[in-house]
């Protein structure tokens, strides 16, 4: 059975590579053909970039394309589209919407961004105050979003807005796709403590969205948003990497280069290495258990551990560097960075502070672990059932 599917996938990929040899085909062309042949998202229905196959076969496709020298960068460079938006459209979009948006998304003709958080980047949905008011066949959007990556290059934005302030906070939300170039949409860089603007703020001033761009029902916004949130959290921490990779490898390199042999530093370094390795093995074990159908708590522990380890290691690295840790090569510039791969240890020390905030604060992750995994009771909720516009905010 599996074999037949694998063979079928191989045949399709063979055809793709035969008709569009990577060497002589532009990425965009190849991605278009990949979509048309249904191996963009193999689990999507036919006609929408898929073949209705189990998700895992996508790895086979990607592996073969990479081996053949074809680019799969669209999955990363247009992450919020290919990685998240596509999932939302597949799960909640109409066929028209899928037809309209999926292909140019996959070919990277259209870049996508996601506009969920708002200033103060709260953990509480009640923090979402951006409003959308119906006006005939359109919605009029006002408000402000924050922490949106790629908004300055995106053509389309996934937007969650409050359409019924008198409903309880989760229910008054609706999900839209907004044209980022439309009137009244203003994207500004959001500078962070490194001076870089990795993210944007987006201001809506009577921006208009046609109702046909609404995803799923009015008031269904939260349910739709969860689809993306979940993908986001699993994306962080949960994935398995080789031993000693990531930030701990930086620490070890610096230790070796420095020629340090201070026993106190060594014990701390090994301590950190051990904790990271324990978390790494936990992720591997959890994935295996998941494959074996035994659900585990790893989803949240991974993100928690990843965040605290990153922060500890980044700070410890500066200690190992001693007075060099007080320098800041390159200095501070308020700029939109082009790449983050080459952050200095000092910049990483600053950047990692956000790891325990972005994609779910560690406090929220602990709540999730305690309540969903351990079954501990939730806090008494003073805002339960309150209409959103009566919940104390600020």
């Amino acid at each position: 059975m599996t074999d037949t599917i694998e063979r079928r996938v191989d045949t399709v990929v063979d055809e793709l590579l035969a008709t569009h040899p990577p060497a002589t085909t532009s990425d965009q062309e190849l991605w278009g053909a990949q979509y048309d042949l249904g191996v963009a998202w193999v689990w999507h229905p036919e006609g929408f970039g898929g073949l209705g196959l189990p998700r895992k076969y996508q790895n086979q496709v990607n592996r073969r394309l990479t081996d053949a020298g074809a680019s799969v960068l669209n999955r990363y460079q247009n992450l919020l589209g290919v990685g998240m938006g596509a999932g939302v459209l597949a799960a909640h979009g109409t066929d028209d919407q899928k037809r309209r948006w999926l292909r140019p998304m996959f070919t990277m003709e259209d870049m996508w961004c996601q506009m969920f958080s708002e200033p103060g980047a709260g953990s509480d949905v009640a923090g979402l105050a951006t409003s959308a008011v119906r006006d005939g066949e359109e919605w009029v959007v006002n408000g402000q979003k924050a922490w949106t990556t790629l908004a300055h290059v995106a053509k389309w934005g996934l937007l969650i807005a409050r359409t019924d302030p008198s409903a309880v906070k989760h229910e008054g939300l609706t999900y839209f796709v907004i044209d980022m170039n439309s009137e009244g949409v203003d994207v500004r860089p959001l500078y962070q403590i490194t001076g870089e603007a990795e993210f944007n703020e987006v201001f809506f001033n009577d921006a208009r969205v046609p109702d046909e761009n609404r995803i799923d029902a009015v008031g269904a916004g939260w349910r739709v948003a969860l689809t993306t949130l979940m993908n986001e959290r699993v994306a962080i921490g949960g994935n398995t990497v080789p031993r000693g990779s990531g930030r701990i490898s930086e620490a070890i390199d610096i230790w070796r280069e420095s020629g340090e042999d201070d026993p106190v530093l060594r014990d701390e370094l090994v301590h950190l290495w051990a904790e990271v390795e324990a978390a790494r093995l936990t992720a591997i074990r959890a994935n295996e258990m998941a494959d074996a159908g035994i659900p585990g708590p790893e989803g949240s522990t991974g993100k928690l551990a990843w965040a605290s380890h990153n922060k500890e290691i980044a700070s410890f690295i500066l200690d190992m560097m001693g007075l060099d840790g007080t320098l800041y090569p390159g200095g501070y510039e308020l700029v939109r960075p082009t790449s983050f791969d080459q952050r200095t240890p000092q910049a990483s020390f600053l950047r990692t502070r956000a790891n325990s905030i972005e994609g779910g604060t560690s406090e929220i992750m602990l709540n999730i672990l305690a309540e969903r995994v351990l079954g501990l009771p939730s806090e008494p909720r003073t805002d339960k059932g309150l209409p959103w516009n009566e919940v104390p905010r600020g």
Partner: protein, 370 residues
Amino acid sequence: MAEVTYAPTEDLDLIRSTTRQFLEEKADLGVVRRVMMTDDGHDRGLWSGFSEMGWTGLLVPEDYGGAGLGYLELSVVLDEMGRLVTPGPFFASAVVATTAMIELGSSDQQERWLPAMASGEKVATLGVFEKARDWGLEHLRTSAVEEAGVWKLSGTKRYVLDGHVADLLFVVAKVGDGLGVFVVEADSPGLTVSQVPVLDPTRRQAVVELDNVVAAARLQGGSSGLARVLRLGSVALACEQVGGAQRVLESTVAYARTRHQFGRPIGSFQAVKHRCAEMLMKVEHAKSVAYHAARVTDDLDELDIASPLAASVSSEAYLWAAGESIQIHGGIGFTWEHEAHLYLKRAKSASLLLGDPRFHRSLLAEALSL
């Protein structure tokens, strides 16, 4: 490193369920408390039960009357024993001493001693440490000299697990500049074994004094072989520790769910709730390193990493969890009647028996050449 899988197989699940069932029926915490207060902390009835279950011979090759299983299977049994702080010489005899004989014994020696150890008829233990923080065995003084083909041992071994109920003592002694491991029968002339009171009354210790004691045999291999035995012992101990840590987590969470203060279950207060979540995370991490180590015992290089990794992480996780469990239980957790102290004592003791976390991290540093 060979491909390792962690998802439990049907066999392992079966071992776990039968082990848990037996222990909950025959060695629940009530029994543990009774045995814990006996003079020698060793219940022969329970011991023969272990033998009938095939645990005393779990690691022993079938040729010598054992089950011929490995550390993977053993890890599950120890996990369950840690869960109920099972008392007695199982760890000393069926794990450490048996491992020593399997790793270092000649086939003749194995044939001579393993069957009785496998059946549980003879309890064995390894006498290795002498000084309080000499886990690296750099300052041993007990020495062996060969006279007319027989080895004679003199010196004092401390911290010998269950030495007071052992029929066989595998004694580590200096041979010139190296080390040797010698088999000593408990009834040998010149041998004095005295039990000493311990922090964890479910795992006893003895001081073993040797005054020109004639060894029944010398096992093969020296320092390196012995080091491997201790690495394996640390893996086994880690598996036992995660069983205890898991039980601590469960009992703490259960209490936090039901105990009310200020009109709410205390588990609804983040001070308690978040600590329970951290406990879960630490216990999961400890399981991961212990289970991993139990799966790579045949890979010498990987074991040098996996063993101290498991030992240091599991020791810290268990001790932290056992301590926080008492805090979350409040006063009741400080009483003799409550189970919490059994786990605190086991956790602290286990974190020192084969090396404290710092020592294991120093081994890890070596293995990683840091």
